[in-house]
Amino acid sequence: MTLPLTPVWFVALPLLLAFASPLWVRLRLLMPLLVGTPAALLLLAFVLLPEVRTAPLLETIVIAPPLGIHLQLDSASWILVALISFAGLLTNAFIWLADGEPYLRDRRAFVFLLLLIAGCNGMVLTGDLFNLYVFLEIAGVSAYALSALRRDASALEAGLKYLIIGSVAAVFFLFSVVLVYLQTGQLNLAAIAVGFGEIPGPMQILIGLLMLVGLGIKAELFPFNFWVPDIYQGSHPAVAGLYSGLLVKVFLFVLFHLVFLLLADPKVVGIWLMGLGAATMLIAEVVALRQEDLRRMLAYSSLGQIGLITLALGFGVEATTAGGLFHMVNHTLVKLLLFLTAAVLLRSFVSAQLADLAGAGRARPLAAALFVLGALAVMGLPPLSGFASKLWILKGFAEAGVFWPVALILLAALIEAGYYFRWIKVLYDPSVQLQAVHPVGRLAYAPMAVAAGLIILLGVAPFLVDALFSEGAQALLDRGATLTAVLGAGS
């Protein structure tokens, strides 16, 4: 029997491997599979790339018409799928190689990590609104559980809080799904898109608002993101890196995918989202100025970058969208690097407080150097990758002659510099002699080095990948092409 290489594997493989976990424990394959699965998915993504670039791949598994699972892999979702696999690979490799906390290395963590990947892949790929909800819950539940894996008060508190707020978000989203189904009788996204314009205006607004609140909570947009710092601080930094690097990006992508697909004219909604993005960015950056805990500071910084990406995608022009997608990738790389650095520092010095990390630069020179690299990249300083994507976004705004986002983005970057450089200065404080408490193996640095290498490579030579992001932006923005691809030319 030959196994056809189709997008189904992006969901099926991690699901199957996760549910067969008792077998892997017995065969002592748990850790190799934890790393191997995302690696295989990444490989699959690259194998499928040439095909995706010519035409989107569609896959329908019919259960009983019209019920079925539709998967759609186009240039935009390919970027996300590759990103999910890569982020999973780096984090899982860190968990394996760092040889650290046992609760991240047992069967439960294995199951939840793979389920998270499966859920995220599913959300990005699905072409069906109800499946979207199902995958959202899969990803959500595994994220809550990952938060609470460590058996102590702060982790359990974070997990419980995450569970509560995440369920509320899911309920909001479910309501909107129900309303859409009642109004259009369809669950397939393309079919809904065709019929969405005929829904009465007020109902459109209600559905839109329900979706916005549901996905806004998940995607950490401003008036809905108050939960973020608590959860990031309570979770293990490597897991927090997954939330910031992977989960949020997926929800943001889903949000904009829905906006660009369902609405014939996304201009008005786009402006509202840009406003939310700008507010998210500025408020988070300002609040981050006073953070004394590394994980909390990174959480706020992550919110700031999410705001920036929302601002760029909401504008809905090809240059800003392509730049926004590129920035998603860069931010994932950077935040993974920074959160893994935080994990190393946290293990070395037991604390992630600013005061306790003074002088850490000499006790852990490599970790501090990687932190500096990540900080420079997140502020968008050349020649690192954050610069190329930020330049792309800013160039898109300048081309359109719209300068208020440019001013806000630059102001936010300046505020961001205010706290990142404060941390850098403290890490290299010459007056304190700090001793590392716990050792960290050299191998733990390997995933971080890979991320750092990519940050430099994409910063120096972004022309290697820019075509991918342009095509991704076109795929995301071109509603007509998606509809034609799914429903056939006649619709």
């Binding site: 100025l289 020649p383 300046l414 010459p430």
Partner: protein, 591 residues
Amino acid sequence: MSWMLRLLFLAVSLSPAALLMAWDADLSWPLIEGVRLSLTLTPLAGFFLVLLALVAPLIALPMLRRPSDVPSLVLFVLLLIGMQLLLLAGDFVSFFIGWEVMTWSSYLLLLRSPRTDMVTSQSYILFNLASAFLLLAGILVFYSVTGDFLIRAATEVSRPQALSLVVLFGLAFLIKAGTLPLHIWIPRSYDQAPDLFSAFLSGSISKMGVYGLILLLTLFPDALTGFAGRFLNGPAVGYLLAWVGVITSIVATFKAISQEDMKRLLAYSSIAQVGYITTAIGVGSSLALAGALYLALVHTLVKVLLFISVAGIVLQTGQRRFNDLGRLIERMPISFFGVLIGIIGLAGMPPLPGFAAKYLVFVSLVDARWLLLLAAMILASTAAFIYCYKLVYAPFLGHANSPEAREAREAPWPYLVPQVILMGLLVLFGLFPGLAIDVLIDPVLVGLQMAPIGSESWAKLSTAYGGYDGVVLMLVFGTAFALVTGLFLLLRGRMRRAGSPHDLSFAGEVPTAETPLHYGAGMGRELRRIPLVGWILRQGTQGFYLGLAGQMRAAAALLGTLYVGRPQTWILIAVVVFALSLAVQAMMGGL
């Protein structure tokens, strides 16, 4: 560190020179869609590349002394690469990349000093990043006007666009150059930076702001006169810039006089000198730009010389305050001559080339009929004599005021070789003031499509308002110096020497060990009693910036209260926002 790496480092420090020799083609490659980087060498950039090529190896040499600090060397290499990219940039994106690489690598170098504190490092990076982001905003406006990123004269710019360009670029470069009131990061960082890196900060990095300002002139064909017409015989907008420059130099000069610390004094002096350059750029005529470039050349040579001499003193004594030094002339004679030549150049006295530079600027001010500015500038440059004198008197003459100063030895040779080379260069340019005009400055002026200054021979500096012969001048001063020195040495044997500083007493007062016997002690304190000068010295912008930082932190605290740890609040806010937006929509759209 192995010899290989040290040699490699020296080779990299020579790369600006190599680039200058070997560059003959333009390079270009894509960055992202619609953005191409292109490298080219314009005459203007070539001038600043010459300055970098002179300075980089001279500072690299003493940096190699053991025990060497490997991260510093790596960062210095990055800094050099960034600055070369900045100078070679043919488009604004590569210019910005170079600018930013320079900014963060110099910040990280600043952190290598054990003396750098949080306020200094934060003000350094925030001011420089503010400069960089203003620059980026200007670049984006420029892009929206011209449609690409190439550095070239922008034609067909509407007035508001031109105004925003001038404001954004102008502020960016003025921050880097450090004019008032944007200078506050300079004294602290030049003071606390690693001693040799201070030389580079003052000698090379500050010149990039100057380069930017001159580049800004070239963006608009009729740059300064285009806006508001002419005032007297010069551009009216430039008049404003010129006053900014002159006020900067006056205030910074008085601040420099009142300093008690060698490096801080040099930092303020550096601000004052860049103020002169800003004034000259404001005048904007061919004479004035020649003066600005000449001043940039002299200031680079002089400040690197002085900072390296001071670095040698700090290395050997561990002291940097005037009150703790003294009598080093016998122990560190070469450094003494370094500082002596340096201050003569700094004060703009003949026969060294500082005179030629200031002469050109003065003449250009006369030419523009801006006589009030001329008077103010002469005031600043005369007052500068006082701090120059302090700089040579306090460490080298008088009594040794600390045990370290009494036992110091001459700085090691890697510090002395650059000093000797720089002294030689200063004397060379002093002998041949036309040399710099002919070889370095005229090509730039021709490249900017301005009238070259020209010189009959290398020995002569000649303008429409007269000139002088450097060789003759040098001979006169050299003879006078030789005569006075000879007389002093002859008569020296007959002078009585004080045995100890405590032998000295007058009016019934006998100084105790705590009494500062230093000639320059308390100089700044007395200065504050002069009416106008005292008022100037008491003013400062630090309060404003600290207040701004405080406001930001207060805002952070206020907004931070939104991020509470209670899930019920989160849900409440989400539901309330949902209901409110629905209600608003209902009222607006009639749900």
